[in-house]
Structure formats: structure tokens, C-alpha cells
């Protein structure tokens, strides 16, 4: 059985086809879900891909949070469905309150487009299940606002609850505690700044991102079975 992945597309999203292709090549089926849709029924996992949703006006993700689909994404997440936010998708999830913290302009005010090493810090998330802690992955980043920020109390909670999923080996953007990815308390919503879909084929220079996407698809199938979410359109 193949996982069914919905890739949410806002006006200004630009990594949706990369995300679709990457999960298809790992055996999943994938569709684009328009931001005006009000249902995400029938999917085992959702991906909010990178780009500039609504032009990143005001703040990245600030307007996307009000797109009709986000209510459905919120319900899907509340029911335990795996949700992955990549780059701009991570920003959208923080603005929507599905993940803690915020993403600020990079320290040094430079747009960063490079490949970085990230270390898996927790195997207890839908993106890292089965991936040993300490695994280092080579994955591209491509952002201006990737500097993860949260208050001290939130950071303490994230650490105590083992919710820092990925850390940069060499912090490129000033993120607090070198955080590259976090998850919610239920561990089914994960956001990360690096782009795993861009490291999913030897032609792209790395297949390390496929390690994460494969884990996501496995989590999707695992969560689909017991929950048996309604597939009514």
C-alpha cells in the first residue's frame, strides 16, 4: 500500500513539484492541494513545501495562515495526521500556531543558498522515526528567514520534551540552539528549514533527504491504519 500525500500549494509556493516528485519516487502517490480547498480528506500525510506563500508579505507565513486549507490542515494535525513543513512551510506552521517559535531574518542578513550538515537529534517524530540519533545528513538550505527563535521557556520545553528534531552541525543562520527542525507535542507535526526533497536523488548531489522523506511515508502509513481517518471528500 502506498502512502497518499497531499502537497499544499499557496499562491507563491514554488517547491511543490519537487516535493511531489520526491515522494512519488519513494513509492507514494501525491497530489497538489490548492490553498483554497477546505478538505484534505483522503491523505495519509500533508507536506507544506517551500516558496513564498502570498508573496511573504507582512511576514513569511503570516497571510498563508488564513488560507481556507489551513483549517483543514489544523484538523488533520489534531487527529494525529503527519504534517511536514519545509522552509516556507515551516514558517507557515509556526504562524498558524501548529509549531512553536518563529523564524526571523538570518543573522548577518544574508540569503543563504548552500548545502549544510544537520544532525538528527530525536528519532521520536514522524520525520525521523527509525533514523538513529546522531545521524548526519547533507541537505540544502535556501532561505532568508530561517533563524529559529523562541523564548527561553519554550526552548526549555523543547529540550525537555526532546522536540528538537534536527540541529545544524555548523549553525548557518543564528538559530537559537542551532535548531534546524522542531516538532509539536504530539510529534506528528514537524517543520524544518532544510529541503529534504532537494537531496533525494544522486543527480542532486545527495540522497540524504530521502532518509527523512522515507520515514515520513512510513509514519503516514502507520498512522493511517489505526486512525482510519474518513476518506469522504
Amino acid at each position: 500500500m502506498a502512502a497518499r500525500v497531499g502537497v499544499v500549494m499557496f499562491p507563491g509556493t514554488n517547491c511543490e513539484h519537487d516535493a511531489v516528485l520526491a515522494v512519488q519516487r519513494l513509492g507514494a502517490s501525491a497530489d497538489l492541494v490548492w490553498h483554497g480547498d477546505t478538505s484534505v480528506a483522503g491523505y495519509d500525510a500533508l507536506v507544506l513545501p517551500g516558496g513564498f506563500a502570498h508573496g511573504d508579505y507582512l511576514r513569511p507565513g503570516a497571510i498563508a495562515r488564513f488560507s481556507p486549507v489551513m483549517e483543514a490542515v489544523g484538523r488533520f494535525a489534531a487527529e494525529g495526521g503527519p504534517v511536514l513543513g519545509i522552509c516556507n512551510g515551516f514558517q507557515v506552521l509556526t504562524e498558524a500556531g501548529l509549531l512553536p517559535g518563529a523564524l526571523q531574518k538570518n543573522r548577518g542578513l544574508r540569503f543563504l543558498c548552500t548545502t549544510v550538515s544537520v544532525r538528527v537529534e530525536s528519532s521520536a517524530s514522524v520525520l525521523t522515526a527509525g533514523v538513529p540519533v546522531g545521524t548526519e545528513l547533507s541537505i540544502p538550505i535556501n532561505h532568508f528567514e530561517g533563524n529559529y527563535t523562541c523564548d527561553r521557556e519554550t526552548l526549555a520545553v523543547l529540550r525537555d520534551e526532546d522536540r528538537v528534531v534536527l540541529r545544524y552541525v555548523d549553525n548557518p543562520n543564528g538559530s537559537v540552539d542551532a535548531i534546524a527542525g522542531v516538532c509539536n507535542a504530539d510529534r506528528n507535526v514537524v517543520g524544518l528549514m532544510p529541503h529534504p526533497e532537494r537531496a533525494s536523488d544522486p543527480l542532486l548531489g545527495s540522497v540524504d533527504g530521502a532518509v527523512l522523506l522515507r520515514a515520513l511515508l512510513a509514519s503516514a502509513l502507520a498512522s493511517a491504519e489505526p486512525v482510519a481517518r474518513a476518506t469522504v471528500a
Binding site: 503570516a62 509556526t94 504562524e95 512553536p100 526571523q104 538570518n106 542578513l109 533563524n147 527563535t149
Partner: protein
């Protein structure tokens, strides 16, 4: 029932204390080039202006605060300050009941 009046709103958004402000820091570092070495504590922010039709100033302030808190500022990293003043009853733009304008037009009103 009172006909709504128009109020001018200014929302200023800035980063919370303790949140790094790379824009402000960069601006501050540029100032010595102007021969101004004594400027410190530069913080960058945003300002938004809009009008709200409301029954009274308190109601306008309440609505503007919702706009500021729910959309214009991200409370995780930002704070906002909301200022509401009676709109200057000059522009007859809408065919509405513009006559309701308050006697004193208020001190604000200078646009850029």
C-alpha cells in the same frame, strides 16, 4: 443607533526586547559613515496605517488591537503599539454620512 464614525489607526510593530534585530544593528553600524557615532539602540520596525469605522473610539481601538495582535504582529517575537485618532473629516470620498465628524478634528492627521 449611532452612525459609525471613521477613525485613523496607526499600528507600530517592533521586535520584543531581547530578540536580536539584525536590521537595526546593521543600520546602527552604518551611521558612523555619516559622521554620527553617538547613535545607539537602533531598532527596526514596521508601521501600518488604516481607517476603521466604529461607533466610538474605544470600539475602534478594540478592533484595531485585534488586527494588530492577530495579524500585524507575531507575538512570539514582536510587540505592537496601537494609536487611534478621529479621522480628519476632509475627504468626502464615500457618499456616506460624513456629517457625523467630530467637532475637533484631533491633533494627528498629517500624512506623509
Amino acid at each position: 443607533m449611532a452612525s459609525p464614525e471613521l477613525f485613523s489607526v496607526l499600528v507600530e510593530v517592533h521586535l520584543r526586547d531581547g530578540i536580536a534585530d539584525p536590521q537595526g544593528a546593521t543600520i546602527e553600524r552604518a551611521l558612523p559613515a555619516l559622521g554620527l557615532g553617538g547613535v545607539t539602540g537602533v531598532r527596526a520596525g514596521k508601521a501600518f496605517r488604516f481607517d476603521i469605522a466604529a461607533d466610538d473610539e474605544a470600539s475602534a481601538l478594540a478592533q484595531a488591537t485585534v488586527v494588530a495582535d492577530r495579524l500585524l504582529a507575531n507575538p512570539v517575537i514582536e510587540e505592537s503599539a496601537v494609536t487611534v485618532t478621529p479621522a480628519v473629516a476632509a475627504a468626502p470620498a464615500a457618499a456616506g454620512p460624513a456629517a457625523a465628524g467630530p467637532a475637533a478634528a484631533g491633533p494627528a492627521g498629517s500624512q506623509s
